[in-house]
């Protein structure tokens, strides 16, 4: 007769060892994933923002609101510079905002710098990765789009986005949606499939719409040809694995001073997905789990003969 005394502590130790072993196999650095997700499609479209040229007229805000059916600011409201007193984030009823930052230096350099904020349309979007029902999708053509029909309102996307872009219609209790810039690719948008409204309206063409690769080439050409005007870094070229929106900053100003976050080049979903997808690789967790359960059952099986004998005796 073998009596095995399986304590609770012992069980957890064994289960943990098996589980950890399984996940470690998947956690091994996988270069293949990294290169696969960061490379954007050649046809991926984007927008290049020439920050030094922006004059803060906020015509892009007005055009965006018009294209999305939001309240359009009047000419008088656009004139009002007091809106720049506080930093404004894109909200559920305005997908883009222009903020003012003080320019450094004396004289001409002291003039304010204006930065347009909106969804960056990442190459490897965290919102897409975080969405458990697949309501967010990254299109081959660049935009990150949202399907309200699939959305269940968990708002994981809002937590996941490194730029804090998706917003929620808290003012709409019955059919709330997550709202953010769609690069004018949403249904019902008059600019759908073409140049985004903000790009179309910009009076100085500070916004350029085109293939992301062309925009990158143009950005670097601008930096080369006007070294006194532009900082050498193109924000969005490598940040979080690359974004469809690319930004050129004025020389002497750093992106951190202009409200941009200092983010690494690795897309945030890369780490989480590596764990998630890694531990499921080669069907390991189910096998490990069922193996563990089987092993526990095997070890802790009632000794039928002994039990019988005990009963008989």
């Amino acid at each position: 007769m073998v009596i095995v005394n399986v304590s609770r502590r012992g069980f957890l130790k064994k289960a943990g060892a098996v589980g950890l072993g399984g996940s470690l196999v998947g956690l091994a650095p996988d270069k293949a994933i990294a290169s696969e997700v960061i490379a954007a499609s050649d046809d991926s479209m984007g927008v290049l923002v020439d920050i030094p040229n922006c004059i803060g007229c906020r015509e892009c805000e007005a055009a965006c609101n018009e294209a999305n059916g939001f309240e359009v600011p009047t000419e008088e409201e656009l004139k009002d510079k007091s809106v720049f007193a506080e930093h404004r984030r894109p909200g559920p009823h305005n997908h883009t905002t222009v903020n003012q930052f003080p320019g450094g230096g004396d004289g001409v350099e002291a003039r304010p710098i204006y930065v347009k904020a909106n969804c960056f349309h990442c190459n490897k979007p965290a919102c897409v990765s975080a969405c458990i029902v697949g309501a967010f999708r990254k299109l081959e053509s660049g935009p990150v789009v949202y399907d309200a029909w699939k959305c269940m309102g968990c708002r994981y996307c809002m937590v996941a986005c490194p730029f804090g872009i998706p917003t929620y219609e808290y003012d709409n209790p019955l059919t709330p949606q997550v709202r953010k810039c769609t690069l004018c690719s949403n249904e019902g948008n008059p600019n759908k499939g073409g140049v985004p409204a903000c790009v179309k309206t910009c009076p100085k063409e500070c916004l350029t719409y085109g293939k992301r690769n062309d925009l990158l080439a143009r950005a670097h050409e601008k930096i080369r040809s006007e070294p006194d005007a532009y900082a050498t870094h193109v924000y969005g070229e490598h940040e979080v694995g690359g974004t469809s929106w690319l930004y050129l900053a004025p020389k002497g100003a750093s992106f951190e001073e202009l409200g941009f976050l200092k983010l690494g080049t690795a897309p945030p979903p890369l780490r989480t997905e590596r764990i998630q997808h890694g531990i499921f690789k080669y069907f390991i967790p189910p096998l490990a789990w069922y193996g563990l359960l089987g092993a526990v059952m095997w070890v802790a099986r009632p000794n039928a003969d002994a039990a019988m004998g005990k009963a008989e005796s």
Binding site: D42, L48, N53, I55, G56, C57, E75, L78, K79, K81, D106, G107, V108, R111, C202, P203, K204, E205, T208, G210, K211, N213, D214, L215, A217, R218, E221, S225
Partner: protein, 402 residues
Amino acid sequence: MPRLFIAMLTILLGAAVAESARGQDKKMPLAMEELPCTFCHLCENPTPRYLCLRRCPRTSAASIDRKMSLKRGPDLVYLDELENLYLPVPFDHKGHAEMAKMTEGCAVCHHYTPEGAAHPACISCHEVSPKQRDMRKPSLKAAYHRQCMSCHREWSHETACGVCHPPKAGGAKSGVASRRPTKDDIVGKMHPPIPEPHTEIYEPRSKPVPGEKIIFRHKEHIHRFGLKCVDCHREDSCSRCHEKGKEHKQQTRTLAEHHKPCSTCHNVDDKNACDRCHWKEGESKPKPFDHASTGWPLSKQHVELGCRACHKRVPFHKLARKCDACHGDWKPDTFDHAVTGQVLDENHEEADCANCHANRKFDAPPKCDECHDEDDGIAFPAKRPGPEVIPSHRKNDKSTGG
């Protein structure tokens, strides 16, 4: 099993070929696939090391200032491409051309002028709605706005459309009916007038001597000595003078750069001449220039004149004390003798100047003895050659003084 291996190998090969083709595509420049190679390259076979690129039109207008003169350019230009929506934008061409001299000249705006031709209109290169998107070339709307807004937002901090585009009655934007704007609608309204500094006293930021100050008589230098704005204000930013509601900041310059505009006339290396502009706290200010210190006090109409009326060369040099040096062209039929206070009667008005003013020496009393016997009392100063009047410049004195 071998069949599966061959199939996989085929897929892999196919993928590799596709990948290499994609890599080649990437090297195509900037959405310009449709353009002929000669649009950018001068030679037939450019290589990555020798691209033989054409010069960008923006930088190829070096000779423009020679070809164009301010006088030939228009005073006011109406930009009326959007006339169906707004009233035309009145552009003060002359004013901007004068200011442009202080920066990079006409080429600031007229950045492309083909050899031997008048400068082309903006619209001939910058299309209203370009058929083919060239990221390098802005559309007409952007070309105008880039040209105007970059400076204008510096001084007015206004970016609303209505500042330049007056709304038109019945246009897209509701507004009041108004006439075609004129220059009077611009200067002092759209453009804040620049207050002209009279006398400026500076305190140098890095003081060589404690309490030292520097005087610069701005108005005198402009109106009397005939300095042009561009003589000192070179490569200045527009907002230095134009910025609304802000005292302009002094620029950081080296000692040599500070003295450079002055050195055209003043000997800045002469250590004894420093006190013309520099003085110390508590001492008396340097006095303005007095022509009497040269030994020739200016009188009558000469006081009113700018220095360059007589002193043609810069720096100013001593002139021969002869009226003829400047007034060599005086003749009886071009000179109205009444301005001297002496009207010539009909016997004298035809006479040559030198008949009375011997050797054309106008500062000495006339000699009458060539025609008149002085003892008869019919010659000057006993008798005048006509009625005496109040000289014209004194008349002005009375009218302004009274």
